[in-house]
């Protein structure tokens, strides 16, 4: 059905979702969690090297990357899994569907509203935690850090898109939450383990192009690459530059693939939201 999109309807739903997350303090609480963890990591992150304190933006970001990979996908999946199935189960979806609004507009409005809440938390949390360090930072450092926060938001939006798909497919909230947690386990814990296993089992015969290609199947790994290759210092430290093909170290390409991770699950969600 080719019904023209009315952006006003999308905006109404988005504003409602965002406002609810502000009001029930979701945005604030998540921002606080981000801020506390990131402050702790920025300060104690280099404790293994025998000292505590701030050791430059590159090292801080590298420490924060691991934290973000654990936290942001989890928060995004928890934020999104309830969006459709929750309203279906409670019974408020039927009335919404009887309004002069298309399913696409409902879905997009929900996605944008939740994405705005997640972005606000991420910016507040990681941005706020930087405030004590501001006097020690140059303009380049800030630019670098902004890139890190931006990529964290993009990754969060990819996982949010996945969880919206789960929310459309699931029959009830219980199952939706189960699948959402399962996705987190898979992408954050299991995926890299399997990839490592495959790499070792094939005794390095797994070509670097194939290896990098498989990495693209996980938004969390794309995020990791984006931030590691932003720093010469870290790149040399890890020796990664030799493993990953030139093209996939280009931030533009990586961001493009992340955008694909945002779009494709959403398109599937819309396809199944009938």
């Amino acid at each position: 059905m080719s019904k023209r999109i009315e952006w006003a309807q999308v905006r109404i739903i988005a504003v409602k979702e965002f406002r609810e997350r502000i009001r029930n303090l979701w945005v604030l609480v998540v921002a606080l969690i981000f801020a506390i963890f990131s402050l702790a990591i920025a300060y104690f992150g280099s404790a293994q090297q025998g000292s505590v304190g701030f050791h430059g933006i590159d090292v801080t970001i590298t420490s924060l990357v691991s934290l973000v990979i654990y936290l942001v996908p989890l928060i995004a999946l928890i934020l999104g899994y309830d969006a459709i199935v929750g309203e279906k189960e409670r019974g408020s979806l039927e009335l919404l569907l009887s309004m002069p609004i298309t399913r696409f507009e409902i879905l997009l409005g929900k996605y944008l509203g939740l994405a705005a809440a997640l972005s606000a938390s991420t910016m507040l949390g990681f941005g706020g935690s930087l405030l004590p360090l501001i006097p020690q930072l140059g303009i380049n450092d800030l630019y670098h850090y902004a890139g890190f926060v931006f990529s964290a938001i993009l990754m969060g939006m990819a996982f949010l898109s996945l969880s919206l798909f789960v929310s459309v497919l699931a029959q009830d909230r219980m199952r939706a939450s189960g699948v959402a947690i399962g996705l987190w386990f898979f992408f954050v814990l299991v995926f890299d383990l399997l990839l490592m296993g495959a790499l070792v089992a094939s005794q390095g015969k797994l070509g670097s192009t194939l290896f990098a290609g498989i990495l693209m199947l996980n938004p969390a790994d794309i995020f990791r690459l984006l931030n590691i290759f932003n720093s010469e210092q870290v790149k040399n430290m890890y020796g990664l530059a030799t493993v990953v093909p030139e093209g996939l170290t280009n931030p533009g390409v990586l961001i493009g693939i992340l955008l694909g991770w945002i779009t494709v699950p959403f398109v599937f969600a819309h396809w199944r939201f009938k």
Binding site: I12, R23, G91, E94, L95, S98, M99, P100
Partner: protein, 309 residues
């Protein structure tokens, strides 16, 4: 056809193997209050969802105000429709006024219409309280206000008095009468048949996805063989006089009671029976006539699950 608010034409809906509706046709005229009754699982909710365009028909066509509800003009059609779902549930974190404003925005109704509407359903004092703290009756009132947004031409009400107290029910029907007098078409379902029987212009009784009967209540009474019941209280010791009067009268059955008799007869025989009774005024103390109610009619059509109220 253009004068109908709704045309349902040969509509069939199946969910997998289950035939929820089976070649059903009906129409609702503009300005009419139309009742839809049937026991649970008879197809009421399915028909509602089809008419609202929430689910597509497997076969057949539905036109609302002459247009397809899921067609290109669906926004215009839906802006003119109000809907109160069974068990109205909404966003508990928002206040009553905010919920109403949300739906007003979606229907492009000015927000200024919201507060007067809340007063109209008796929620003015609770307007800024979160819905979380509303009672079942208050939620239902909010749902009703929502269905009235933008003075719709067509209002769907699914079990609208669920959870309302007697005063609430009275208010509800008073507002509904107002709305109807302004020309709105109303489609209503209810389990409480006594409540809608005096109010609907026409009704349909659904039975296993088909129409078991339709028409006005008067038509349905004539169409069915359900008798009028005349309860006669006799003066002490005169029961046998009545027994003699109705004994052998064709088409009339009677039953002796403790203080009189209960006479059942077809509606068209009622006057003849009353004539006989008036000739026996020295034996008769009191007469009460009971017409078959919607509930009797409904039970006559096999809807055994209906609750008596």
């Amino acid at each position: 056809m253009a004068n109908n608010a709704i045309d349902v034409c040969e509509v069939t809906k199946w969910f997998g193997e289950v035939h929820a509706l089976d070649g059903l046709s009906l129409n609702v005229s503009k300005g009419e209050m139309f009742g839809l009754i049937g026991h649970n699982g008879a197809g009421k909710s399915t028909l509602f969802k089809l008419m609202l365009g929430l689910i597509p028909a497997s076969r057949g066509e539905i036109r609302v105000q002459g247009a397809r509800i899921d067609g290109r003009d669906f926004r215009q059609v839906r802006r003119r429709i109000g809907y109160l779902p069974e068990n109205f549930v909404t966003y508990d974190n928002l206040s009553g006024l905010e919920v109403l404003r949300l739906f007003a925005d979606l229907k492009q109704v000015p927000q200024a219409a919201c507060e007067p509407l809340l007063s109209r359903v008796g929620l003015a004092a609770a307007a800024s309280r979160r819905v979380r703290g509303y009672s079942k009756g208050m939620r239902q009132r909010l749902g009703f206000a929502q269905a009235l947004l933008g003075n719709p031409d067509l209002i769907f009400l699914d079990e609208p008095t669920n959870g309302l107290d007697p005063e609430g029910i009275h208010d509800f029907y008073r507002i509904l009468a107002d709305v109807q007098s302004q020309g709105a078409t109303i489609i209503i379902t209810s389990h409480i048949l006594a409540e809608i029987q005096e109010r609907v212009d026409r009704l349909v009784i659904l039975e296993s996805g088909r129409i078991a009967a339709q028409g006005s209540l008067a038509q349905l009474r004539t169409d069915t063989v359900l008798p009028s019941v005349i309860r006669v209280t006799t003066k002490p010791g005169r029961e046998l006089t009545l027994h003699g009067a109705f004994f052998n009268l064709p088409g009339v059955t009677f039953e002796m009671m403790r203080d009189g008799v209960s006479v059942s007869c077809a509606t068209e025989q009622k006057v003849a029976v009353l004539n006989i009774l008036s000739g026996l005024s020295d034996a008769v103390q009191d007469i009460v006539i009971r017409e078959p109610s919607l509930e009797d009619l409904f039970l006559g059509y096999g809807g055994v699950h209906v609750q008596a109220h």
